[in-house]
Symmetry: C2
Subunit: 491 residues, 2 copies
Amino acid sequence: MDRLITGEPVGKQEFGAAEPGLREALIRAQEDLAERDFPVLILLGGPDFTGCENVYELLHEWFDARYLRGEAFGAGTDVERARPWLWRYWRLLPPRGSVGVHLRGWATAAVSRRVLGEWDDERLEREIRHLRRLEEQLVADGALLLKFWLHVPKKVLKKRLQSAVEKDSWRIAAEEEKVHEVYDKARKIVERVLAGTDGPHAPWTVVDGSDRRFRDLSVARHIAGQLRARLDRPASTVRELPPERLRADPHTVLDQLDLGQELDGDAYDRRLDELRDRISDLHREAHARGIGAVFAFEGWDAAGKGGAIRRLTRAMDATKYKVFPVAAPNERERRQHWLWRFWHRLPRDGQIAVFDRSWYGRVLVERVEGFARRDEWERAYADIEDFEGQLVDHGYAVAKFFLHISADEQRRRFEQRQRVAYKRYKITPEDWRNRERWHDYEVAIDEMVARTSGAVRWQVVPANDKRHARIAVLEAVCRAYEGRLDGRRKK
Amino acid sequence: MDRLITGEPVGKQEFGAAEPGLREALIRAQEDLAERDFPVLILLGGPDFTGCENVYELLHEWFDARYLRGEAFGAGTDVERARPWLWRYWRLLPPRGSVGVHLRGWATAAVSRRVLGEWDDERLEREIRHLRRLEEQLVADGALLLKFWLHVPKKVLKKRLQSAVEKDSWRIAAEEEKVHEVYDKARKIVERVLAGTDGPHAPWTVVDGSDRRFRDLSVARHIAGQLRARLDRPASTVRELPPERLRADPHTVLDQLDLGQELDGDAYDRRLDELRDRISDLHREAHARGIGAVFAFEGWDAAGKGGAIRRLTRAMDATKYKVFPVAAPNERERRQHWLWRFWHRLPRDGQIAVFDRSWYGRVLVERVEGFARRDEWERAYADIEDFEGQLVDHGYAVAKFFLHISADEQRRRFEQRQRVAYKRYKITPEDWRNRERWHDYEVAIDEMVARTSGAVRWQVVPANDKRHARIAVLEAVCRAYEGRLDGRRKK
């Protein structure tokens, strides 16, 4: 549970005596952290706005500012507002080995939105659950979260605001005065948000900010102490799960699929034209109404993802969509939570993101090839459900596809690709090797479909016949758009 | 000069016969490019909007789309509009070893702005010079620029637009219809932009788009041919400049500085308070008026940059400024033009970017330590002048500082830092080694000040007395703001 830190005012001398040791501890911890594989995120929020800014500046002085990732969150740009509200925080998470400080981060934003009436109670509760999941995810991924709520009694806040108006008027934004006005109303909401996001994984530390030196010392000591404790903890206390035992003869969702479905050339051309026109209308209407879209494509190698995606994007205006081919994460991406690179790529409202392979790599290739530990990919199902839930909540049209072909059909396509010079690059020895794991992939695909169908339904598409598959994909895209355009916006 | 490609319509069979070889050539070239250290940028512009989109899609099909950086530029977001107009193009330049395609890139934007009356003739001429410089810079840095202007006769354009309205109405944005309306007016502007940005370093290729297959083959052949020619060129045809010979006993700008200037504690406190209030007012006014600011800090190690920056930022609202500590470029940054990482960090209008070290590293540490070749840092002076000219043109308040201390004072500060545990991290063996190059740095600083004082004046600040230096910095910031707030906006 949260921890309340209060105490007697600290004199100038006492502060001066404590400062050198504390600064040294912070610098040393920061240096040690650089060699480690987890990030530290310090959240500063609370009704004491000036206090938060002062502590934010103090941390920039006491840590090595060159390696501190400070982010002060204000009203936000249109680019930020046109995406799920947590996008701006995800984007600015500190990478492993570094300290980030978020001034007025997500908890403050949740309080503000409820206070200002942007959210009702139901929405607040839903978002608190998302916040809780977010913090749990980050901590499960190794992050050390240090959350401070700087509290001042109403009387002190009032006095401080008055004196600020006189001496320091620029610090008082309109919002701050409002916060003071609605102090009592806000208090209940604050308590709800703090309680809802508190827990042993990321407890709140509430600091009485009446006395500045006491506040500075308390925050710095708490950070230095927690950081050192974490650094001294043995690197791996991860609960090692036993290796999984594959079911010998699974019946998978893929078995039920009729791979014999075909479409002749004429019917295909006709239907393709119809669907192209329909999608071109739909994506323009969605753009006009500020509705974005996220389409994710998975499938066996050579299942025809690229071709299906091209049929889709040809129906769209090039300024409105972006195709993201997803391969192994790069160095920068590996230094973040695994979902970071997908959050990063979410489209703004009205725009379309097409993922050629997606976040499902975590529970497919990374699982099967052992690139992710079992506890990591086991966790990913819930991470994904929460992620997709937020996409839907935000109002995107969302669809996800798995293009299924038989192992024989795959071999045929591999061989064909190797005969055509300009297609040869698509086939690597790795693709042939992957075929040996066909069964492992089947098991992984089956579990994926079973465990990630809560927020967004899977479209498992028989793709032995390319024409059939492309039409099925375009039809599902139309349905996703139509469902979204007809429905009420949840936002 | 530009090259006009026209020819007879291409039949289906002829196209089919040419396609496999061409696609193979493109794929091979793309693979080979991945091992090389230069980027390829393909620009697609011209009145044939549909043609541009078709070619854009074709390139995504014929190249390996996973490694193609396609960018389709539309109207732009507020985040883009609130920065120098070239920012959005700089940000999306392809890294070395990759192919980028910009659909409706900078040339198209320049034409549009003049056609729509956003720019007058004078502004157009100025921006053409910036564009020319930009392309020269990129090419000097190794880039291969392939610029296509897809032209169609007015009659064909008209017919195509009509048929598009019937079959394909979604492709016709309001802007496109306008382009048709103003075809004749635009024609003159197009000719001006093409002529002004044409040259042997990056010639325009004007393609007659009347026949689609002819157009597709012509563009693809030109790309494949140019790319292969460039790949086959020996890696280093860089004109090696002879190593520089340092003047034996230079009188530098630093010699003229009176390092004895001091300020006593009381005067300092008083003046600091005044300036803090002044800056807090100024930065708020600038924010309200949408005026951004760029402040760059250079100086000897331990000259007091960090302390001066903190005195500045303490007067500012944390949501309005961002401090960028500049160290050696990282892997991602090294794959771009050296100025890219600074363009990337330009603040939006109303915001403030403070650079703790800056783009001047190119002509200081990179020159002195040999991290940049002589031809590279020699080129940088002009790159910088052009860059800063654009900052001023855009309307930022800009100031740049060099904090100067004596070699004796530096030694004193190094020794002091080593005595204080929490400051020790600031001193590395490298810092001591750098002292041996004091004279080389003096020469580099002198030349830097002489050659980069055209767009923005240097503030060379005597900093043996920290109090004096901090006040001088804050005063110069005030002057930069005041000059900007009083002046008319050039934009």
